[in-house]
Amino acid sequence: MAEAAESPGDPGTASPRPLVRLRSATKGIMGLSDISISQDIPVEGEITIPMRARIREFDSSTLNESVQNTIMRDLKAVGKKFMHVLYPRKSNTLLRDCKMLQRGSADSEKDGGPQFAEVFVIVWFGAVTITLNSKLLGGNISFFQSLCVLGYCILPLTVAMLVCRLVLLADPGPVNFMVRLFVVIVMFAWSIVASTAFLADSQPPNRKALAVYPVFLFYFVISWMILTFTT
């Protein structure tokens, strides 16, 4: 987080002698990830500092900006993450900006009272268990980052669920089943590749397979549920 400390003589307004010390890196803040300030920058005189001005502008604007701007900013960040899931590459920088979001949208498409609860429990319990397993094996990924990644990587399987529902509107038969099987297999492989790109790097090299296997099992069970869901 960026801290802009003003000298005691300046109560925070633009004055003839601004003395600003900017401390610590600001990589963790979304939108400011391209600023990296890691040392004290004492400035005196009437020189206006672009960085200082930008920091102050952001400080006040994140508080006072309209709700729409906040929402748009968050949506852009979510969209950026979805793109990373759709085109999985080894991505450490994304983990740093990750926030935990609810995965309610994936579950609300599965109708049926008791089935929703079961799916919800399995998804969340599975994600927590995988995260705990990864941390116990010595991975250096944070708890909520891992939950976040697993939640996002369910996206391909959500798409598979939608496609299966659409395909089921046609008349049932072996062709119907083969199409659904193919779609589910492809999306399952996609989910695994996407989450492995995130998670495998956080493990010591001789334990990667141990950390990835529970993810495989988790997505396999979810894929099975999608494939056999025929109501």
């Binding site: 079961e118 010595g138 334990r207 056999t228």
Partner: protein, 287 residues
Amino acid sequence: FGDAATSIVANPDATTISIEEPGETPGSARSSGREEDDELLGNDDSDKTELLAGQKKSSPFWTFEYYQTFFDVDTYQVFDRIKGSLLPIPGKNFVRLYIRSNPDLYGPFWICATLVFAIAISGNLSNFLIHLGEKTYHYVPEFRKVSIAASVIYAYAWLVPLALWGFLVWRNSKVMNIVSYSFLEIVCVYGYSLFIYIPTAILWIIPQKAVRWILVMIALGISGSVLAMTFWPAVREDNRRIALATIVTIVLLHMLLSVGCLRWTISQYLRLLRTKQLQQPSPAKEE
């Protein structure tokens, strides 16, 4: 151990390994792999084992690092342990050979989880195959199966080792010179011995009765012998009858679990089979 053997042969006074058995020649101690040597290895290691166990788990139990010590395994170690559970060799003690005072909870936990889902999936598959071709069949994923299977298998994987460990500790207090395993090592052996049931559960959807019984015999044979060979050195010093009773109980419980679980996964198929057999004497055939 090769280095230790050569160093002992080279310098019998070296204190690299604490061996106090009189009359044991250094040269034959290591490379023969006979059962007595394994047992001696077990006896000598037991002091070191407890020492090492005490050294390893030094964090208090409410810290995260304490539980990390139970997951201190590498990929190749897990594979080796699984291989050891699939190929029981007479004389090779699973605990001494593979676990070597580094019991892990990764294997037992994830093997049980995989087994739970394998049982649930194969049960669903067998239901599906029964009604293959019936257009009116409405497939229902049975989540109750998953919950019940999970409860049974995890209870077996934790409560039976607890009982066995308690029993061994009690016998250890009565009869000296028994090799007693730590609780986690017993959990580890039981967990890895369940691995053979994963392919068995999946192959049980084959509707031939002979195939199914052959499969369960093979699975029971392999995992039962792993357990028997692990615990035989532990109870051998005891009263003959008690030792035999212990081994028989272990194998019996294992058989109950395997046959019970597997028959339950295909229970709907069996019920259908029974109703079909009851209907056969009647002349009018349905459909």
